[in-house]
């Protein structure tokens, strides 16, 4: 039998054969996400609500702020699909407009939380030692401070306003994110590709941005989708305690807590925003769970 002769210096090109997976990471995730019916339902609902929020002025049948006490507590009818509240304002229109504030309250603090959490988490995880100790001690403080109380204190300190709700919820939330990011960073820090970047002489700041952060994203994404419903519910609680969204704005949380007292004589006032909260929170949860499942193999790589 004739063995191939000197193969060593033969020019050889390895074909990355087309049979190999061609999808990018996100295509792959999206593909497995698409099969998850609950997650897709969640995603669709969220998309719908976002559209509603964007096109609120076109969708709302009435001016949501228009008070006319003569129209107080109209039952749901053809004219007022979801009835009117004690000021005669159209509940449907208020829910439609409320989606703006509620989604903002869900998304903005979660974004801020993520941002702060990422920065502190990566820095703590990457540099370790004293930096880590300080950041983690502060985050311990935040975490051991009862979150609703902390939010309340902050709201009292800063006064009730939308911006301050964002701030309050972010102050409460960042510590959890920082922990997750830090843990992730700690595990990534010892990964060979990070070491390889160090071996090349890449600066720490760039390593953090280029190598560590993108690999935290799947985890962060899951966290993000689960943070949002948390914020929406926190705002409802804050509204219940009187420091949530401010009238005449109509956040769902505010509508629910205001409508609570009419639950017996005019149930429609509170039930429909309540259902809106329920639906969006469930939607985010299902999407988050679906994402987690879809990202699962990547979270553990």
């Amino acid at each position: 039998m004739n063995i191939a002769k000197n193969m060593l210096f033969k020019k050889e090109i390895i074909e990355p054969s087309d049979e190999l997976v061609k999808e990018t990471f996100w295509q792959d995730v999206f593909k497995s996400l698409r099969k998850d019916r609950m997650a897709m339902a969640g995603g669709t609902i969220i998309a719908l609500f976002i559209l509603v929020a964007i096109f609120a002025p076109y969708l709302a049948p009435y001016n949501p702020y228009e008070v006319s006490l003569d129209l107080q507590f109209q039952k749901p009818s053809m004219e007022y699909w979801l009835g009117t509240d004690m000021f005669g304002r159209d509940v449907l229109s208020r829910i439609i407009y409320g989606s703006r504030i509620s989604l903002l309250i869900g998304i903005v603090p979660s974004l801020i939380t993520m941002l702060i959490g990422i920065i502190f988490g990566i820095i703590a995880g990457y540099f370790g030692r004293k930096t880590d100790f300080i950041i983690m001690t502060v985050s311990d403080m935040v975490l051991s401070f009862p979150s609703l109380l902390l939010a309340m204190v902050v709201m009292y300190t800063l006064g009730a306003s939308l911006l301050n709700i964002f701030i309050a919820l972010s102050i409460v939330g960042w510590a959890g994110t920082a922990r997750v990011v830090r843990a992730q960073t700690l595990s990534l820090k010892n990964k060979e590709f990070v070491e390889s970047a160090r071996a090349i002489g890449v600066k720490p700041s760039i390593i953090m941005i280029r190598h560590i952060l993108p690999n935290c994203i799947p985890q962060l994404l899951v966290l993000f989708t689960l943070e949002i419903p948390g914020s929406i519910l926190s705002e409802a609680s804050l509204s219940f305690l009187g420091v949530g969204a401010q009238p005449p704005a109509s956040s769902w949380g505010l509508m629910v807590s205001n409508g609570k007292e009419f639950l017996f004589n005019a149930p429609w006032v509170a039930i429909s925003p309540g259902i809106a909260i329920l639906v969006i929170v469930l939607a985010f949860n299902f999407l988050g769970d679906g994402l987690r499942d879809a990202l699962d193999p990547y979270l553990k790589q």
Partner: protein, 512 residues
């Protein structure tokens, strides 16, 4: 068994825990003090919304013609809950304690007109020169200046009389520890689980005879809906609708309950305060315009289901010197706009209304008013701030416009007029209303002895303040509504509202 249906205990509820029953250290939450202590003079409800001063621990008194010296003759047969006999010294002790700086009392305003009170409060004297014990049953109080409402003043819960021995022994625990909180009243404190229940039991030795009920359970139930469900399931005997006006139609239209509603006017009113330091509220035309742009009748009808009547001045119905003839403040948005234009604001202006964060009822009025003012072009921003900030800001005269309520502490116009518009108080209440003439008249009226003249002066001032100067926007006097279980008899709405509810007269008759 704490349930309402058992024995002869009445079960009621409060939204929040009073914290202390020492009236010297609180300026509200008087229900329990009213029932466990007595005062030298008592203000009783004689008919709905009407009150009268009657002898209490003092069986009689004399007032010197200049209105400066009061001599009280104290009953001989009164026993404190600890068995001590009431003596004039206890009265001296009580009043001195209020003024003693060590007490850190908050209610000193009720006694600071007594001669020597200021020195005592400032720590310059060890006793109050104006209070003298003549004998065990006689005490003489001298005022620094004549003060017409002094007697009515003493009839407020703040005038409750303590026992020297028990109170001294109790120290900081007085008013807190049920066993150490000793009064002479028809009920004794039995137990106190903070934020849960206060139990009062009847005092069989009460000098006017033991109450007909065994006692009162006062539940602390913060949530209004929970309150309602408790009442409907028989866990409460009395349900106060003032915290949930929205339930009024529910009960009014309910076959089971509609006959159990006890309603009555109270001497108190709702109003908007306007801060004249904030532009353009310094312009009387603007203030008048605001008065005219609020459809008060609709507010009353829609938010309070018509349970009350409009007020056009300062005195609510039932107050000494109430003037039913006062011209009406009309709802006239057209004229209001015209006034705004005259004042240089044809397109309206921006206005801030503040309120405390956890008062949903105020918020409702504010939201409705916001919409009404919007119609004349006034753009209202409702700011909710926490109570602490609210009062701190108000105290320095910087609080923007706000809606508020006031019910009488004592039945005298002074309690309204002076409280709001005197030079001293106008700032503290953030009106910054400075009509020197009115200020002088207010001070004068306090000291006047001739009641008829005095009332006339008040009615005159009322017109000036509320209508000519439009210093505030009076809204309405509301009825107080309660739903009461059928087994509870003799329930009466207190003349000045819930906070002074006496349980003494109640009876329980179990239906067969």
């Amino acid at each position: 068994g704490n349930s309402a249906s058992s024995d002869k205990m009445i079960t009621t509820s409060e939204i929040s825990d009073p914290g202390t029953t020492d009236v010297q250290k609180t300026t509200s939450e008087y229900t329990i003090p009213l029932n466990i202590y007595d005062r030298l003079v008592e203000a009783i409800t004689v008919s709905p919304g009407k009150s009268e001063l009657v002898p209490g621990l003092a069986e009689s008194w004399e007032v010197s013609p200049d209105g400066l010296k009061y001599t009280f003759h104290i009953r001989k047969d009164v026993k404190f809950h600890n068995g001590e006999i009431l003596k004039a010294d206890d009265v001296l002790y009580t009043f001195d304690r209020m003024l003693d700086p060590a007490t850190k009392a908050l209610n000193t305003d009720f006694l600071d007109m007594i001669a020597g009170a200021k020195d005592r409060m400032d720590g310059k004297a060890n006793s109050v020169s104006g209070i003298k014990v003549i004998d065990d049953n006689t005490i003489e109080i001298t005022l620094a200046k004549a003060f017409a409402p002094f007697l009515a003043n003493l009839a407020t819960p703040a005038g409750s009389i303590y026992n020297r021995k028990a109170t001294t022994e109790a120290g900081e625990q007085f008013g807190i520890d049920p066993q150490k909180t000793i009064g002479t009243g028809p009920f004794k404190m039995k137990s106190w689980a903070l934020n849960d229940t206060v139990v009062l039991v009847s005092n069989p030795d009460y000098f006017q005879g033991a109450p007909k009920i065994d006692g009162v359970n006062i539940k602390i139930v913060p949530d209004a809906e929970t309150n309602r469900i408790m009442f409907e399931t028989g866990k409460l005997d009395i349900f106060n609708l003032s915290n949930s006006a929205s339930q009024i139609p529910q009960f009014r239209d309910n076959e089971k309950w509609k006959n159990s509603i006890v309603s009555g006017p109270i001497v108190g009113l709702y109003y908007y305060a306007l801060n004249e330091d904030i532009k353009p509220l310094d312009d009387v035309r603007i203030r008048k315009a605001l008065q005219m742009s609020i459809d008060r009748q609709t507010l009353l009808d829609k938010l309070y289901y018509g349970e009350g009547q409009l007020v056009h001045g300062i005195s609510p119905p039932g107050l000494l010197g109430y003037n039913p003839e006062l011209p009406k403040i009309e709802y006239n948005p057209e004229k209001a706009k015209q006034l705004l234009t005259e004042a240089g604001y044809p397109n309206g202006f921006d206005m801030e209304i503040v309120q405390t964060t956890d008062s949903p009822n105020t918020l409702k009025i504010n939201e409705a008013v916001q919409a009404m003012l919007q119609k004349v072009g006034v753009r209202v921003k409702i700011t909710q701030i926490d109570e602490s900030t609210y009062f701190a800001t108000r105290q320095v005269g910087k609080l923007p416009s706000n809606q508020n309520e006031w019910s009488a502490d004592y039945n005298d116009p002074d309690n309204f007029f002076y409280t709001f518009f005197s030079q001293k108080n106008s700032k503290v209440r953030s009106y910054n209303y400075n009509n020197l003439e009115v200020n002088a008249k207010l001070e004068k009226a306090r000291t006047m002895v001739d009641q008829t003249e005095r009332i006339k002066l008040y009615q005159e001032m009322e017109k000036t303040i509320a209508q000519e100067d439009a210093a505030w926007i009076p809204l309405f006097a509301l009825n107080q509504l309660f739903v009461v279980q059928p087994r509870v008899k003799n329930f009466q709405v207190a003349w000045n509202g819930w906070s002074s509810m006496s349980y003494y007269g109640l009876e329980i008759v179990e239906a067969k």
